[in-house]
């Protein structure tokens, strides 16, 4: 039974390597290519999460949303277009700068920023302050994930929402295999699903398709930096990645489809 499995330990062990390799510095280096992807995709995965709350009849104009590890705004921007205010928690300065620039370009003045890691945010100062607290594709930052989820519940007066890769885009898997990069096959989604259920949080589950578009330059930069997390990039790697992206792009845009698992619940 699930009761016999220590999901918290499984989680902490499963994400340890990714956590070690993906520092704030790494994300500062990824700010440009990641922002390019979010913009070129028109925040596709964030918009799909927004639609979920709309379809459920829950989204309210008066909402104040907290987006943990916002990056350049894939969640923050679509929500800010529809609700009263969004607060983004983002410690990587270049990501935060990209977010604010993106928001300005969209004439959004209802976004504010907490320039800290979520772990450093004083939750007592924001107790029950938000209608929706979202953390998308970023839970790997938290070895003590249940503690961090409980902190999210502390600042939410409405809902909490965690989004994860349900399955990686097939393209990405094939590419990494060719480059000899093994990112492991730790399944964050099913682990966090079981961890929450074991802890008495029984989340609703949605599986949502998304499409990511990015320029060839962004795709090349993203893949190169990902390889550099594991080993130095060789000249032949550079040529291979460039050709790979070029060949698979259409009109200068490289596109991948994926699915994410969205776990969300009403906070008691």
């Amino acid at each position: 039974m699930t009761l016999q499995i220590d999901w918290e330990t499984a989680w902490a062990e499963g994400i340890s390597e990714m956590n070690r390799l993906s520092s704030t510095g790494y994300w500062n280096r990824r700010a440009d290519d990641y922002s390019d992807m979010v913009l070129a995709s028109d925040c596709n995965h964030g918009r799909n999460i927004l639609r979920l709350f709309e379809r459920e009849g829950l989204l309210e104009k008066e909402w104040h949303v907290l987006d943990i590890a916002s990056g350049p705004g894939a969640i923050t921007v679509p929500f800010a277009e529809r609700v009263e205010r969004v607060t983004a928690v983002e410690p990587a300065e270049r990501m935060a700068a990209a977010l604010m620039s993106y928001a300005e370009g969209r004439n959004l003045d209802n976004i504010d920023l907490i320039p800290q890691t979520w772990q450093d945010v004083d939750t007592a100062a924001y107790a029950k302050n938000y209608d929706l607290v979202i953390c998308c594709h970023a839970l790997w930052q938290f070895p003590d994930v249940l503690h961090q989820v409980r902190r999210m519940e502390e600042v939410s007066r409405g809902y909490c929402c965690l989004a994860h890769g349900f399955e990686a885009p097939a393209e990405t898997g094939k590419l990494m295999e060719t480059l000899g990069i093994n990112e492991g096959d730790f399944d964050q989604f099913i682990t966090i699903f079981n961890l929450l259920n074991d802890a008495g949080v029984h989340p609703n589950v949605d599986v949502i398709d998304y499409t990511l578009n990015r320029s060839v330059a962004s795709a090349v930069a993203s893949t190169s930096k990902l390889v550099e997390k594991y080993r130095p990039l060789s000249d032949s790697d550079r040529i291979f990645i460039q050709e790979y992206m070029q060949k698979r792009s259409k009109n200068g845009i490289y596109m991948v489809n994926g699915r994410m698992g969205v776990l969300w619940w009403e906070v008691a």
Partner: protein, 290 residues
Amino acid sequence: MTDNSLISDIDWIRLWEDSYDARSGIMRRDYVLDDWSERAEDYSESRKTNQYEFGESVYETLKRHGVVSPHARVLEVGSGPGTFVIPFARRVDYVTAVEPAEGMIRMIHQNAAEAGVKNYDIIPKLWQDVNITELRGQYDLTITSTVIWMFRDIMAQVRRMEEVTGGYCCVVGGLGTGQTFEAELWKEIMGDTPRPQYPEYPLIYNLLYMQGRVPQVRIIDYTSMRTPENMLRMYRVFYSIYTEITPEVEETIREALYRDSGEGPCVRKYRSAVVWWDPAVRRKELKGIV
């Protein structure tokens, strides 16, 4: 590289079978159809609480997500007193109930007549005995609730459910409620004998996921209300599976019910997971980080 052996090595089917066997191990006899006929009245009262609140809530959930439509033909596996027959048949094209217990079948007819529902039929068999050859692809939704714990060969039965639908499958499974009444009563009657588990959710989610399905979930809350006499009838059947129902056992149940609810109806709050999936959609194995 992360070591995922802990999770990828979990044999969910084995866990399901172990749970089934552990329960069988403490049973003095197996359930028979007469047990379910005996349960027809209390089960019906429970399902009819707040105008079929449970079935209505499941219907609304599935409708909101496009799983069921007015044109849908629905097959319910183990209908009991008409758990989904009545709420669904009012809004869909047709419902077929698979239900083997005579008492439950009578109750479906009675409840359907009361609700003015005529667009249904009943296959009076155990689901495991239904020949699905002629049913293959005939329905748009196969649905079941509070039944799958009876299937030791869970995936074989799930696959049969999938074969008869050209649309979706749905399993509604109960969640622990944190209520202590059941555990305390079990201890009073059975002492230190481990209490049998009926773990449908989230175990079924893991099973489906690991077998490549893409299930979605909504958690629903609902109320069940039953007279003390119907509660006693339910507990009499339940405990007869595990011990002899002596006058002392019956008195223990009566007293516990009286302590809990006095002479009025017993009101219970329950929570269930509505799990649905499209059998034609399969998950690709997760490799690499998104």
